[in-house]
Symmetry: C2
């Protein structure tokens, strides 16, 4: 099958490598140099001290027919992707963004494509334009958005590498909110406090503050089983206790964070539902202030 991967970041390169083992994959990048490099060198993947290589096509625009497009750019880079996708024939599109900021956009996006959404539970670090380090084995979980037909993708994803499992989930809302609540609890706090994930468990006041954030997010997301969700948040903190969250890494690196994708979605939902979200508003404002600061040298 012909699969297009939009975005040449860590998730894009990871997907391109593994999907190219069973499919004809083209990576669509923003920069011409990256497309040329992938086209000539293929993609290298590092895993457990070993190096693997896969051939891949690459391009800077979506100009052939694909059975599936996998959109791997960050949520704040989606707008230009949407306009490209509006100009192509109807196809299947899987969106793999962090957070849920793109959900409000997708709900308003009536273009005839079959839309799927998913989450990435792998650890991956881009090493160069053509190389990615698969640092944590996980899974991709996806679901049909609104009225899309899941069988199309189920057939496509029939065969996969055992280190790159792809699971279908029936309820997209449960799938995405299950990850969002974890990110909303862990990412902004670790970024502001500049602590590793585990410290949110070991400092009692931070755990109590995280619980207040959790309760606010739960109310907005209308989660069914709050207790189980809270156990999951704490479990992820514990399992990743030595990790720096992506938001902390972005803040330290002076990059735009995924605050809009993660907290922005919750604030928009709170506003639509007429709910208070004082902790989330404060976290959002503080992260945005940090982003402004790290973009200038004091």
């Amino acid at each position: 099958m012909k699969i297009g991967i939009i975005g040449g970041g860590s998730v894009g390169l990871l997907c391109a490598y593994y999907l190219s083992l069973y499919h004809d994959v083209t990576v669509v990048t923003r920069r011409q140099e990256q497309a040329a490099a992938i086209q000539s060198e293929g993609i290298r993947l590092y895993k457990g001290g070993e190096e693997f290589r896969a051939d891949c096509s690459a391009d800077t625009s979506i100009n052939s027919d694909f059975d599936l497009l996998v959109v791997t750019v960050k949520q704040h880079q989606l707008q230009s992707v949407f306009s490209s996708l509006e100009r192509i024939g109807k196809t299947n599109i899987l969106f793999l963004q962090n957070g849920m900021g793109h959900i409000h956009d997708l709900k308003d996006w009536h273009v005839g494509h079959s839309i799927y959404v998913g989450i990435v539970e792998h650890g991956a670090v881009r090493k160069s334009d053509t190389a990615v380090d698969h640092t944590g084995l996980g899974a991709i979980k996806w679901s049909a958005f609104d009225d899309a037909e899941p069988d199309r993708l189920n057939i496509l994803f029939q065969h996969n590498h055992s280190d790159f499992p792809i699971y279908y989930e029936t309820d997209w809302y449960r799938l995405l909110t299950g990850k969002l609540i974890v990110n909303a609890c862990i990412n902004p706090l670790t970024a502001l406090l500049q602590v590793k994930n585990g410290e949110l468990l070991t400092t009692p006041a931070y755990l109590a503050f995280m619980k207040l954030v959790f309760q606010e997010a739960c109310r907005i997301l209308k989660l069914e089983n709050e207790e189980k969700a809270w156990e999951r948040v704490q479990a992820v903190c514990g399992q990743t206790k030595e990790n720096r969250s992506s938001m902390l890494v972005d803040v330290i690196g002076g990059r735009q964070t995924e605050a809009d994708a993660i907290i922005g979605y919750l604030l928009k939902e709170a506003s639509l539902q007429g709910l208070d979200a004082v902790h989330l508003e404060f976290l959002y404002g503080s992260i945005k202030a940090l982003e402004r600061n790290t973009n200038k040298v004091f």
Copy 2:
């Protein structure tokens, strides 16, 4: 009377100028150059577009007999001042620090001096080693700490310049906590959100978050009239709506903030009383992380 002013910052220079109009004042500075400059040039004060000048002595150590010592250094610079003060004969000492971090130190400091504490409600900006801009006319309010005798200072402060009133208050705890609660509500939030004071009133979620911080601080300080205190916090926000708080200015300037003096005191009290302080702990941790960051270039 002979008055020694310890510290040549904005408050130190302001006090030295006004008190030298009625007393024999010596400014005690850390740096030899500043002492020499004050000794030779005196102190210039700018106010309402005019320049004023007063003669002052200056020194780098406390080596003569004073009727009163006014300690104007910041709380985090107090430790070295304490050791100097332990080596001199018994006298009257007025501490003019922001926050209440020094209160725990003063309670454990049994050296026979008569101790007074006060707050500064003036706006003042140091322009040079010998010049200060009196940007906001206010007052100094002081009180006797523990068993010190207020009459000694009341006699000393009988005559003052009308732009530099000095008021006696009977209850030191009420005096200091009244200012602390305002600082605890406004300073950390504006520093983290990077907003002017007024925005804490005009953004409803920020006001609601500030209320949570206020309630936590009230419980720790055991304030008598919560409602009145909350009105005062909001009134100060409104009166200073165009101002950047000192903590925000320190964060932007990459300097150590007064987080220990303000939030640190509350956290220590909470811990002594076995009370929760999850918002204050979070604010403290986040401000400390900002301080670490601004001391390095990302």
